[in-house]
Point group: C2
Chain length 530, copies 2
């Protein structure tokens, strides 16, 4: 057998080998700044950040983090709304090889405390409007956080941790920042709810995010050109979809990203009056609210190339109305999850009106298959577990060997859904394999909610499922059997849950039943409840 064929790079220094060859998300803003220059990269209310400025800011913050002692592999928690400082902080982490830990702003302080501790985060970036949540989280549990930076006015300490303003980080030397980062280094850790109550840290590599950005650009029809289009970013940046399938592909292609702190349909409609909006991704309920805005009729709705709706089916009348309002756009569904960074399937333009209820085919570098109960791959048309292979996959869950073993059983990544592949290679979702509810873009563990509901004295048995819902995709719904002699008071149960769970986990409805449907072995048949 001949010797392995590797080049002799003994005369090239290791930093050069790394900088010239690597996949590193921190290089994305550098490259975009050369190509797109003074174009607006981000619009955040009255602030516009050009591509050149974005690169300078990210370099400065990377240097600031490094000077504060952060180093490759460290975790930095980011607790920020969709503001330009959020994007800059994330990109600074990618340049330094620091792992970004974007925090879900809807989480309860105990959940944030868990993520800070579990990840071993050494620092936190937050903003003054979120100080109470940061304070509560930092006081909550054991953690290694030793520094807090605050966008806005900083107190001296937050939850006992020294605090200082974020602004000086961004006001330093903005020249090119060079640091070794490797292809398979972790770029971000996002926590996702699984079937147990403890969320799992999903570790995602620079390679996965780079491939995601490019394959999303292909699937969405983003093509660099002289006239940059714009894309409103409505979904929160702590979601993998906003980060890796919207923000980064848009920056890679030279679009202008309009940051929205939350979803205000009037504000999104106004964007159409001010910019040539070419791409927009929202949840179905958001699309419905946008369509109801009278101001939309005054904007330029002809420029939209792709209107993506995420994760949940769209009612046919709404789809039809959107396609009439945006006559040049493909209004199509994208689906995926944090573990697949994120889009695994995106419908094609030609699927409109034909396969609207499907998930569409796999994106470019992703393979989707259907697995039978014994790990065998099933032929077209047969229903089974939807499984994946793709370099967009997470590296794995953080210090959770059991979850990894389960997720990669039989040689494939298990997405937790049931469905089939049709003769055209299109995926059709039919049921959930894992016991989670997908609501408003969030994963909610049924078990976690059930445990809380069962803690109330009036409840004997409880099953939590996601019921199809036009607004939420799935609505968290609790079926409860009352304890002997007790009666179920939905308001009391709601209050009980609110005190113990993040708002999006609280059941939208409590349905009293005499008994839960069960299998012969006593397992609750949730498919019947859904």
């Amino acid at each position: 057998m001949p010797e392995a064929m590797r080049p002799d790079l003994s005369g090239v220094d290791p930093l050069t080998v790394n900088l010239t060859h690597r996949v590193c998300i921190g290089d994305l803003p550098t490259r975009a700044s050369i190509t797109y220059g003074e174009r607006p990269a981000l619009i955040d209310d009255d602030t516009t950040v050009s591509y050149v400025e974005l690169e300078r800011l990210a370099n400065s913050v990377a240097r600031g983090l490094q000077e504060a002692g952060l180093t490759r592999g460290d975790r930095l928690a980011i607790q920020l709304q969709n503001r330009w400082q959020n994007v800059v902080t994330f990109l600074a982490c990618t340049k330094l090889g620091v792992i970004a830990l974007p925090l879900n702003l809807a989480l309860a302080p105990t959940d944030i405390a868990y993520q800070l501790s579990d990840s071993g985060s050494v620092a936190l970036v937050t903003e003054d409007a979120l100080l109470p949540a940061a304070e509560a989280a930092l006081r909550g549990a054991d953690h290694e956080v030793r520094q807090v930076w605050v966008v806005g006015t900083a107190p001296e300490a937050v939850g006992g941790v020294p605090a200082t303003g974020w602004a000086p980080l961004a006001a330093g030397d903005g020249s090119r920042f060079e640091s070794i980062v490797e292809d398979r280094d972790i770029v971000h850790c996002l926590y996702t709810s699984g079937t147990t109550s403890l969320p799992k840290g999903v570790l995602t590599s620079h390679v996965a995010v780079q491939l995601s950005a490019l394959s999303a650009a292909v699937a969405l029809g983003l093509r660099p050109d002289v006239d940059p289009g714009a894309t409103p970013l409505v979904l929160p940046l702590f979601h993998v979809t906003a980060l890796d399938a919207l923000l980064l592909p848009a920056l890679l292609a030279g679009s202008t990203v309009i940051l929205h702190r939350g979803f205000d349909p009037a504000a999104v409609a106004a964007d159409f009056g001010r910019h040539a909006i070419t791409h927009l991704t929202m949840l179905p309920a958001m699309w419905a609210a946008l369509l109801a805005q009278p101001a939309l009729a005054e904007g330029d709705t002809d420029s939209l190339v792709t209107g993506l709706y995420a994760m949940a089916p769209m009612p046919a009348p709404l789809l039809a109305a959107l396609r009439e309002r945006f006559p040049n756009a493909a209004i199509i569904l994208g689906s995926g999850q944090t573990e697949t960074t994120p889009a695994s399937q995106v419908q094609w333009s030609g699927h409109q009106g034909v396969k609207d209820d499907s998930w569409g085919p796999a994106v470019a570098a992703t393979e989707v298959q259907i697995m039978g109960p014994h790990g065998d791959l099933l032929p077209r048309g047969e229903e089974g577990e939807i499984v994946y292979r793709t370099p967009q996959l997470m590296e794995g869950y953080w210090h959770n060997a059991d979850a990894n073993t389960e997720a990669f059983a039989h040689g494939w990544f298990h997405g937790g859904d049931i469905g089939y592949l049709d003769e055209d290679g299109v995926v059709w979702f039919t049921d959930r394999a894992k016991d989670i509810v997908k609501t408003g873009g969030e994963n909610v563990s049924s078990v976690e909610v059930e445990r809380v509901v069962l803690g109330h004295e009036s409840v004997a048995e409880c099953a939590v499922v996601g019921r199809p819902d036009e607004r939420w995709g799935e609505a968290v719904t609790a079926y409860v059997v009352p304890a002997d002699g007790a009666t179920i008071d939905p308001d009391a149960l709601r209050e009980h849950c609110k005190e113990r769970l993040a708002g999006f986990k609280v059941p939208k409805a409590f349905e009293q039943v005499e008994a839960l449907p069960k299998t012969a072995t006593g397992k609750i048949r949730k498919v019947e409840l859904r």
Copy 2:
């Protein structure tokens, strides 16, 4: 410092970790076969190979190669015209982790012999029409080739090496083939002429080719959909452009690739009558010949999305005529080289008529800069060496430490060209830094040709340069100073060169001069000759 954040995959077997996460070009046909199914992937004269069939054939050949003893890291030379067996053989290599070594069919047998020996190729795939060249090459030099497969009728041996038919390789088990291949394994080794007479083996990784395929899809506007377009593949598959910027992006996006054995303008024109041609990449002279075909007027020229012309400028009247004939297409220039896999710059649609003479901006994941003589990066508008950083870069040159040290000097890859970046991030080429001629898509070493010309008794001094040429981009041109008392006979010199050089290296013109322009230190000033 916290511990490195890697997932615990101790419960997952290494093959699963590899198959679920890796970047491997061998997975591309697998994924395309799921998504595009029975669509035609390749059309080769009367043979149509569907996506499903392409995957089955590649699996079968991968197994056949493995059974013949080939293993990950081995080199397999491929000496084939643009036929479906070429594509299948290449994809089979990528599945097995075998390094493909596509051979330039225009090379002289001694050049082929050098590549076989230098690469340590263990086997060769050729076709019966090319047996004389294979025979001569295998008899030419030391090599490790132990097996020859022949598409068509096989003799018992070729150049003393046992031979057998290729067809049985493709007639075996076509089910899924699984083998460990890693991101940075070498996918192909392509030899390129440098400034010295010995060509250098360019080692390219799976990551580079995957990113190239995706970034080419973005730059060319390839977007998967229900109605597949078609793309004629006219450039030879032993060129990196044909392989990585045309074939693979087209297969990734579900297009139909129409293979052409050589360039017959009538045959390309006929494609427009039979298929919805959405993409076509050719050299400028080929576009001119296509435009002159009366049959083109009868075809569907409205479907073209992108007409790319490679590497050489296009005369303005020809550009205008093409844009009139293909009214919906962007007719734009792409430029790059084997070392950058290959496209580094692709013009945008909006550059048409504005920056036609530029190289356009860098593609999505590539950074281009201009370097001064001391390794410093120059500001916009200043002329210097064009240098790159991109994960599309080659891993390096094969066993040539000096060439690697030179290529990666001062922290950047040196493309060998001089130019500047304008205020819009667009690259403008002004001169060549390396002493090579780029003619008809081939690199020719000036030194190699000069050495041969100087070997003729009538020549005292010689300088070979590329002179701008509408057909060839650059025409190899020899400026010769006659020896004392001798006269230059161009026909005799041409004959002398033909016996010693591949056809494309033979000067198109021999210009007699009394003296060569030189610097004060006696170095020939080639820029004046060009």
